[in-house]
Amino acid sequence: MNPDILRILPEVILTLTGVTIMLLDASLPLGWPRWPLGGVGAIGTTLALWASLWQLSLPEGTGFYATIETSAFTVFFHVLICGIVLVALLLSLDTLPEESHHQGEFYALIVFGAVGMCLLTGAVELLLVFIALEISSIATYVLAGYRKETARGPEAAIKYFLLGSFATAFLLYGIALIFGATGTTGIYEIARLAPGAENHSLVLAGMGLMLVGILFKVSAAPFHVWTPDVYEGAPSPVVALMSTAPKAAAFALLLRVVYEMLPSLRPVWEPLLWVVAVLSMTVGNLAALRQQNVKRMLGYSSIAHAGYLLAAFAGLGPSGIAAASFYTAAYAAMNVGIFAVITVAGGYDEKLPLIDDFRGLVHRSPLLGCLLIFFLASLVGIPFTGGFFGKLVSFSAAIGGGANWLVLIGLLNSGLAAAYYLRLALVAAQPSDDQRSAAAAPQVGVAVGAALLLAVAVTLTLGIVPGNVLRAAEAAAHTLQAPPAEGGVPAIALEPR
């Protein structure tokens, strides 16, 4: 078998799964239930996850004319993204209404989005980066507007699409400028040529534009304005997906761009990211404090978390990359978890949009209430949860890089953030005298139960025994740092002395 194909095996599996879902959807008779299509998607995603793990046994390197890479780094993010997609599919299985006519499309779009995200983490060629980003973005634009019957759904989709394509254009201009400066779009080639071009205006401008495009995707301030609106309008299982998986992919891209492509420009991008980190934390937390809508609040909280994650970029070399990768995983686990709880508690038509609607959840449904509090505790950063350990490694890397003030601001911010997370948690813990809502205790189905279990298990694992994941993140960090071994000769050696 062509070894190049093996390097994109997870993507191939996911694509086949998506196509299968679409064909099945078209060929199944009208009255038949469509939820098994989601099951097909879940199986395909699980296979892709195993395929990514299997890729660890491949020799590290690139394929398809040095456009796509397999390494510990790509495997780390592939597994993360496939895991998130799997949870999102399981979540949708139980919550999408039976009478919905577009279930097949829904599952297929999720899987196609996953193809783009996986491709994005593996791409080492800027044009492939752009294509991968578009594949994942277009899928998420459509998913954001899946609830066509509400006014908020199309609003969210249009906002996301317009702003998103604008941001992608920035990224493309940046790529073009960097191509103009270096004459190549290969990330390793650029890394080899950039050290002489620190002050080259095209490189600087190109990097700036690319950063704008990527920071938009991770919803860091000041490129965050779309986040709360889109989260509010999109269905909850989709928000569980799009608040984590595309962000994980975008962070992988950011790591690749700043640490692998332009490490020599560190004096330029480090202060930039410092400012963006502080802005994101502060803006996100301050805005979240005043929200009444749960999904908007979590939208702002995800902006703040992007800030905590960016703090890790102040870390030097591998420690910064490892910390950022680990935090991405921890954030994904707990954020998927909390959206899963909100999905189950509120249902597809979102009966509980406001914080006050959650009053007495612990008394109505102790399981969901306790899970809600657990994930909120993790978001606050309570020890023995993934959220705490993620913050610990992220801030520890930043302190190692000498960014003491950034860490102090970050931790004070997380203290501030505790206020709004706790408001929700404590409202849920408060006894409610409302008998009407007591009757509507939400049911937890098998698929959703599995999704919740997965999220809880990962969040706890990352908080109590994070050793293995931490090692994986470190291995990932080292592959990102090492010079590419192409044809047995490091690219750097080609440079004439």
Binding site: S319, V362, H363, P366, C370, I373, A377, V380, G381, I382, P383, F384, F388, L392, V393, F395, S396, I399, G400, N404, V407, L408, L411, L412, S414, G415, L416, A418, A419, L422, R423, A425, L426, V427, A429, Q430, P431, V465, P466, G467, L470, R471
Partner: protein, 549 residues
């Protein structure tokens, strides 16, 4: 036996957690969660008793005993050594009895919640037991991240339970409590991470050596020490930082109000502020002594004018905890021993008093002192135990409160300044005033309408079964303090010598001040136990006279 010694601390940490899981798994039928929680807490208490039984007092015994130290999470490694977070727990004289105290108060808390908690018993008792684990963890951890983990974890069950079972506005009080402790912890974590970045270790003993060695930049170390102190001072609370106390006491379920204030913060001050940063602690000690005395008087004055007994107890706690802070930052050996002893005594006495007040609240559902009156005739047992507890609290000789207060005031008088000691003593007198006045208003005088309206419901057998041992303990701690003090003094010695060594480095040619002189004096006494032997104390006093001149 050796195997038990090597794993006892893990067992103590896991037992309440296992109980919590069991509570959650079992059906919520009748009082089943209560019984499981009671069994778990009694078993855990039994486990903690293993510690004093096998704690070695021999001169060559290691400082930390029952120690477990193994790498739990590797953060970075190179060919020579690897750094990371260790599961490092151990017990010394300082923490030994505090661990036992936490174990003792758990069954008391369960009994106090027996009838008070009507709904969602599973959630309540599961979280109550998780709280136990967190508190054990704080006292046992010798790795700073592990310690920080338990320190933060202890907030969560408390906040949730206050929100769930608050009397009036639970969520507000819970939020206030949580944020008041959580936000000051942020600088604490920054400080810990900074230390790690500089030394590559989270280990208590290793960091101690690093700091004493003087290789860390002194300016930054100042800020680090201050971050530690700030986090602890809020938790205690020290005078201007006490904003959360009254509301929390007002809203918290009785079982948690017993444990909410004091112990964790005071222990952390002794272990991690004075223990790690002796030189910096010495510099801020005068400020803290002043704040502590203000806190004693302020708390006592406010307690005098409260109309609600939970709030009265909150300000009484502020006053008592400030007294203990005074003992800690007087930086005298006597003061430290008194402080640890007073933490123990305060825990036992407060446990009993809260149990009694909780029983009163359950049957009369008001905490307004004015509504009560003349209960002594109807509830003779409650009244008797309450009077006994109050006497122990105000420091009547032969009861537990006296020993700690006496040692703290003695240490302050001889080691710090006579003025502060006299001012603090004034607070003790005020303490007697508000406690006795409370007793009088609750139990004596003419029978109030409220007392007459309900049939008398005196203590149940379960409550008696808890109160008798507590009362006996108050008496035993009052007449035979050496049972506890011999162990405690092995724990408070080490910071002393470190203070001296760091002082040597810092002061250099400067003449040894009163502190060094005092500790030297204590060392020269053949028997260093504060057994009130006239010779030792008198010579210590004369020594101070000399130094003062």
């Amino acid at each position: 036996m050796n195997e038990i010694n090597n794993s006892i601390l893990t067992l103590i940490l896991l037992a309440p957690l296992a109980g919590a899981v069991l509570v959650l798994l079992m059906p919520e039928r009748g009082r089943l969660p209560n019984w499981i929680a009671l069994a778990t807490s009694l078993a855990t208490f039994g486990l903690t008793l293993h510690l004093p039984a096998h704690f070695s007092l021999a001169a060559d015994a290691p400082r930390f005993q029952f120690e477990i130290n193994r790498m739990s999470i590797e953060l970075s490694s190179n060919s020579v050594e690897s750094h990371g977070i260790f599961y490092h727990v151990g017990v010394d004289g300082l923490s030994l009895w505090l661990v036992v105290l936490v174990g003792l108060l758990a069954p008391v808390g369960v009994v106090a919640s027996w009838n008070a908690i009507h709904s969602r018993r599973k959630v309540f008792f599961a979280l109550f037991l998780v709280q136990q684990t967190a508190m054990f963890g704080v006292f046992l951890s010798l790795d700073l991240i592990l310690y920080y983990g338990f320190w933060e974890l202890s907030l969560v069950p408390m906040a949730i339970l206050i929100a769930m079972y608050g009397r009036k506005d639970g969520p507000r009080a819970a939020l206030k409590f949580f944020l008041f402790t959580f936000i000051p912890s942020a600088p604490l974590l920054v400080a810990i991470l900074w230390l790690y970045a500089r030394t590559g270790s989270f280990d208590f003993a290793t960091l101690q050596q690093w700091i004493v060695s003087g290789t860390l930049p002194a300016g930054a170390l100042w800020w680090v020490a201050l971050a530690f102190l700030f986090a602890f001072a809020v938790k205690v609370p020290v005078f201007p930082l006490h904003g959360w106390v009254a509301e929390t006491f007002n809203e918290a379920p009785v079982a948690l109000a017993m444990v909410v204030a004091g112990k964790l913060g005071l222990y952390s001050m002794l272990r991690f502020h004075i223990g790690l940063f002796p030189a910096q602690a010495r510099a801020v000690a005068p400020v803290l002594v002043g704040l502590a005395v203000v806190g004693i008087l302020y708390g006592a004055c406010l307690a005098l004018v409260q109309r609600d007994f939970w709030r009265l107890m909150a300000f009484a706690a502020l006053s008592h905890l400030s007294l203990i802070t005074l003992g800690i930052y007087g930086l005298t050996l006597t003061g430290w021993e008194g402080a640890v002893y007073q933490i123990l005594s305060h825990g036992v006495v407060d446990g009993a008093l809260f149990l009694l007040l909780g029983a009163l609240y359950d049957s009369y559902s008001t905490s307004q002192i004015g509504a009560y009156g003349g209960l002594a005739a109807k509830l003779p047992r409650t009244a008797t135990f309450f009077v006994f507890g109050s006497l122990a609290m105000i420091g009547l000789p032969m009861l537990s409160g006296f020993i700690g207060e006496f040692l703290i005031l003695l240490g302050t008088f001889t080691g710090v300044s006579k003025g502060w000691a006299i001012a603090a003593t004034l607070g003790v007198i005020l303490g007697a005033a508000y406690m006795l006045w409370l007793v009088q208003r609750l139990f004596f005088g003419p029978e109030s309408a409220l007392a007459a309206s309900k049939p008398p419901k005196d203590l149940r057998a379960g409550q008696m079964a808890v109160l008798w041992p507590l009362a006996a303990l108050m008496l035993a701690m009052g007449v035979a303090p050496m049972l506890w003090l011999t162990t405690i003094e092995t724990g408070v010695h080490p910071p002393q010598t470190e203070l001296k060594s760091s002082e040597k480095q810092a002061a250099g040619a400067k003449a040894p001040d009163r502190f060094a002189a005092f500790s030297a004096q204590l060392k020269s006494c053949p028997d260093t136990k504060p057994d009130f032997s006239a010779g030792c104390d008198a010579s210590a006093n004369s020594m101070h006279g000399e130094v003062a001149r």
